[in-house]
């Protein structure tokens, strides 16, 4: 059978590459980037509207654009890109053929059709219900149909991934255990199955309801199951982007995880401890007991958070070890100072790590604390938080790995290298800015999903403090920067993919630099003598910031009206 498969051998890594898998990776990545461009444009329009001095769109268009933005980036961009990563982490890294490429294409087709249907439904203007589509607010039936088709397509993609793992094992295409990156992807895929099933459980009845076949859907039940999908899918993103961090550390530095055991356990924690975390979206809803909330936010959250904190040391630690073994041993930070900051794959990955931890991680845990949620729920603090996780974290990491995938998978030299060098900084700093300023505005009480913070058309007046307006102005400026960064990415990648210099099958790309030989790295020090002072210092700063910020928010909470 395998003799019928069309393979080439990668001149950089020596891996056998199944051309069918390669085509699927390309198709999914291209679809992802197209929707990132569309969704990013909507994001810019939304941010310009929320900039009080600009106030760009009229109200109806604002709510439409916000719905489209949430769907196209959070759902479509990320999941298409994750499909590409799943095929890469299975077929390519395991040196195997892809199981059922026909199925994979079917999944791809369903996802594409679904995304288009939902987009058209939203653009027609009668489905501006936000991507969460909380009942009893109703969208047109095609809105739900599109999402369901998209989810089914993604589910098929996950099955192809599992199939490929089984196939590779059976055909003995690799020795020993699967690589850590593949393990991370496996975590993501397992969570995805749970997620997509929850999505089907809630969206199919909702579709029937919008068709008039079901008379009532309880809003609280909807929300609980919807977030079983909505939140767990964020854990897919985390697993996937952490796998990308490890992959980039390996490809740029030849870095080896500090401990396979610990890193794998940390991935496993994502599966074991996240599924009930929809609780932290329901902290101020009627009818949920405090016991339920505390249990499901902490059991189900802090151990998953622990997983991320472990990766937060393991990934930079692995890089530090690799760099030190190459002689960059001066002081605490020579290894970091002399890291390849001009390589967009590394720069993007490292910023993703820092912003995800410091901005997204800390704010998420604080906001997910039962009582503290009272001062943040549905304010702009929430989008501030998740732009740090899913944009500065996931999106930036995905952008970073694209710079490696273009030469390796698309077989094209990267074009506009100067621009590529700057891209992660422009995008990363822009997104960090919007995260921080939205969180700032949220702390001052500004509502999310809101067209007019001056309340000009309200019968009863209310004024936010002027500092809130300043925050939204700054948010607008950084949003423009983020949008420019996003555009740079799209231009570089689309340009290279279609017009970059073609590489022949046995030609090594000149860029990004090929990973250095990793033999020395694998045996640097024994675990007892492992020295990562720089990483330990950074982790110390992170931890201090975490503790301080956590208690500052309890202090804020203690200043509001007593409630019981």
């Amino acid at each position: 059978m395998s003799s019928l498969i069309d393979y080439r051998t990668c001149p950089t890594t020596g891996l056998k590459v199944d051309r069918a898998a390669e085509k699927l990776i390309k198709a999914n990545a291209v679809a992802a980037i197209v929707f990132l461009a569309i969704g990013g444009l909507f994001g810019l329009l939304v941010a310009l509207t929320r900039w009080p001095a600009v106030h760009f769109l009229p109200a109806d268009m604002f709510y439409l654009a916000l719905t489209a933005h949430g769907l196209d980036v959070l759902l479509v961009w990320i999941i298409f890109f994750e499909m590409a990563l799943l095929y890469f982490a299975s077929a390519i890294l395991l040196n195997s053929r892809l199981a059922g490429p026909k199925w994979a294409w079917t999944g791809f087709g369903l996802m594409l059709v679904g995304a288009l249907i939902t987009n058209v439904a939203v653009l027609q203007g009668k489905s501006s219900v936000m991507f969460t589509s909380y009942v009893p607010m109703m969208a047109e039936p095609p809105f739900y149909v599109g999402i369901i088709l998209f989810a089914v397509g993604a589910l098929i993609g996950c099955c192809v991934f599992f199939g490929t793992l089984v196939l590779a094992k059976r055909e003995k295409t690799y020795e020993g255990s699967i690589p850590l990156v593949t393990f991370g992807a496996l975590t993501a895929a397992i969570i995805a199955v749970f997620t997509l099933a929850s999505g089907a459980i809630i969206l199919i009845p909702t579709l029937l309801w919008s068709l008039g076949l079901v008379s009532h859907i309880d809003p609280l039940v909807y929300k609980t199951i919807w977030w079983a999908m909505g939140h767990s899918s964020q854990q897919i993103n985390v697993s996937a982007h952490v796998a990308v961090w490890y992959a980039i550390a390996a490809m740029v530095f030849g870095a080896k995880p500090l401990s396979e055991k610990i890193s794998r356990m940390a991935f496993l924690m994502y599966i074991l401890f996240l599924q009930l975390a929809s609780a932290h979206h329901l902290l101020v809803e009627p009818g949920m007991s405090s016991e339920w909330k505390i249990f499901n936010t902490s059991y189900a959250m802090y151990l998953a958070v622990l997983g991320s904190m472990i990766h937060g040391m393991s990934v930079p630690g692995a890089i530090e070890v690799a760099q030190r073994s190459r002689g960059l041993t001066k002081g605490m930070f020579e290894w970091l100072r002399k890291a390849p900051w001009g390589n967009p794959a590394f720069a993007g990955m490292f910023m993703s790590l820092v912003f995800f931890g410091f901005l997204g991680g800390i704010s998420g845990v604080v906001m997910g604390t039962e009582q503290i949620n009272l001062i943040m729920h549905n304010t702009l603090y929430v989008p501030g938080h998740f732009h740090a996780t899913v944009v500065a974290g996931t999106t930036l990491a995905f952008m970073a790995i694209t710079y490696i995938l273009v030469p390796l998978i698309f077989r094209r030299e990267l074009m506009m290298k100067k621009l590529a060098m700057w891209q992660p900084y422009v995008f990363g700093i822009g997104v960090a800015g919007i995260s921080v300023f939205m969180m700032g505005a949220g702390t001052l009480g500004v509502s999310r999903r809101h067209w007019d913070m001056t309340f000009a058309d309200a019968i009863l007046p209310f004024d936010y403090p002027s500092a809130a307006f300043l925050m939204m102005g700054l948010n607008g400026i950084f949003a423009v920067m983020a949008a420019v960064g996003g555009l740079m990415y799209v231009v570089i990648v689309v340009g290279s993919v279609f017009f970059g210099k073609k590489l022949t099958d046995d030609e090594k790309p000149s860029y990004p630099e090929v990973p250095p030989e990793s033999a020395a790295v694998s045996h640097y020090g024994s675990s007892e003598s492992l020295k990562i002072p720089g990483t330990a210092f950074l982790v110390g700063i992170f931890f201090t910031a975490f503790v301080l910020y956590y208690f500052v928010n309890w202090k804020y909470l203690s200043e509001i009206w007593p409630l019981s």
Partner: protein, 177 residues
Amino acid sequence: MAMTPPSERIWWRQPIARIELIWIIIAFTWGLIMFFMMIYWHGAGAQNLSNEAYQIKPQVFAKHAQDMIDEYQVREESGFPVVHPPPGSDVYLIARLWQWWPILEFEKDQSYRLHLSSMDWQHGFSLQPVNINVQVHPGYDMVVTVKPDRAGEFGVVCNEFCGIGHHMMVGKIYVVE
């Protein structure tokens, strides 16, 4: 490398570096502290939700609110009744497209059992500038006992998207000495 199968085949037998172990212990302990902090606040803190809630038909809730308005209305403002209920009583605030009805007037340092429910879609009760935010559902009556600790005029912003009039949905609460 993380992209290749582990170089030590029996990777699960490899010892763990001290520094990683220390970090795991610190991080785990911190998780426990955060867990107990929530429980501690239920005893020692003054800001907790009672989680008292009932299923209720919108018409029934509206009737409770109307009874309260009929009994305790003190004046009118921009077409909204202003209600000054006695301290300790049950107070009803209706959320509907797109208003918070009626305007409430509380006395400082007195508690009230504030009932929140929606007549239609979900809304978000966002008391500003205090910054208390809770979700309001149709069909559920959520009871929050509030004890305003400073006098003044407060805005009630809707912070759950509720359609095209969402940004016009502002209510008011007065707290008097």
